[in-house]
């Protein structure tokens, strides 16, 4: 049970992000929720990569110790860069939405002004 604390942290991050995405109406808060979900997924990958008593997978001179798994680290690197790209596109679209509609409420945009 005590060894499941990193997974519980992952679930807490994902649930906070999902709460912001589902229940909030401000677009900036929705973007923050999406980033929280993404950080939870990154933390989950890093958690899967860890082995007990292991060091980072980098050789330092002679001597060999138990190393943690390198492939989830590489996938996390890819995920972080893709997250930055998606964040830039989302913020640009939000700037355009604010200039066009004059509001950031997700339930007011997209409707005709009556």
């Amino acid at each position: 049970m005590i060894y499941n604390i990193p997974y519980i942290a992952v679930v807490a991050l994902i649930m906070i992000g999902l709460y912001a995405v589902v229940f909030k109406r401000n677009l900036i808060k929705i973007v923050i929720g999406i980033l929280l979900i993404e950080n939870g997924v990154n933390l989950f990958l890093i958690t899967l990569a860890f082995r007990q008593d292991s060091i980072a997978p980098i050789y330092r001179g002679t001597g060999s110790r138990l190393m943690s798994l390198p492939v989830p680290h590489a996938l996390t690197l890819t995920s972080i860069v893709i997250g930055v790209a998606v964040l830039a596109l989302m913020l640009s679209l939000i700037i355009h939405i604010y200039r066009h509609y004059g509001t950031l409420d997700a339930r007011k945009i997209g409707r005709e002004e009556e």
Partner: protein
């Protein structure tokens, strides 16, 4: 935003070379120490974003156009892909190579005496085949890409706040 106070500019002038050198160190030692092209590129781009915040986007746009930065980013992408395709090309030129797409053609050969050793420990920068070259290409791409994103967004949102 048209620049901040003189204190911020002076501190930026002092801190900027250290950030640049650290980022380029992370890129250049990407195959030996923690780091690589993406991480070092992010460090250098954050240093450039510090310049952008301190001096304002109008001053920065007067110095560097985003068209040139876009060309720089495309140059990094072309370098990366051509390094990947070079493994196929060398098979036809030299029959001693065995290359495929993304093969590390520089490692374990004596024809081209650069980056051809196997790394054993730190401070051996002449190792790891095409990985340092790919680190430089990806680092150039990430520097130009992130900085042009920040620059274009800062310069475009300037209009409403200025007037």
């Amino acid at each position: 935003m048209s620049g901040m106070s003189r204190i911020v500019k002076t501190i930026t002038n002092v801190a900027f070379p250290f950030v640049m050198i650290y980022g380029l160190y992370v890129i250049a030692h990407g195959h030996l120490t923690p780091g690589g092209g993406f991480q070092g590129g992010a460090v250098v781009a954050s240093g450039l974003a510090m310049i952008l915040v301190a001096y304002g986007s109008i001053w920065v746009v007067g110095k560097v156009k985003e068209k040139h930065l876009s060309v720089l980013e495309s140059l990094g992408a072309i370098g990366f892909i051509s390094l990947a395709f070079f493994g196929i090309l060398l098979v036809y030129l030299y029959s001693s190579f065995e290359g495929t797409f993304f093969s590390n053609f520089l490692i374990g050969q004596d024809t081209i005496p650069i980056f051809n050793e196997i790394g054993k420990g730190l401070a051996n920068i002449n190792t790891a085949g095409i990985i340092p070259l790919m680190n430089f290409a990806v680092g150039l791409k990430v520097i130009a890409g992130l900085f042009v994103i920040v620059l274009v967004m800062a310069y475009s949102t300037r209009i409403k706040e200025g007037k």
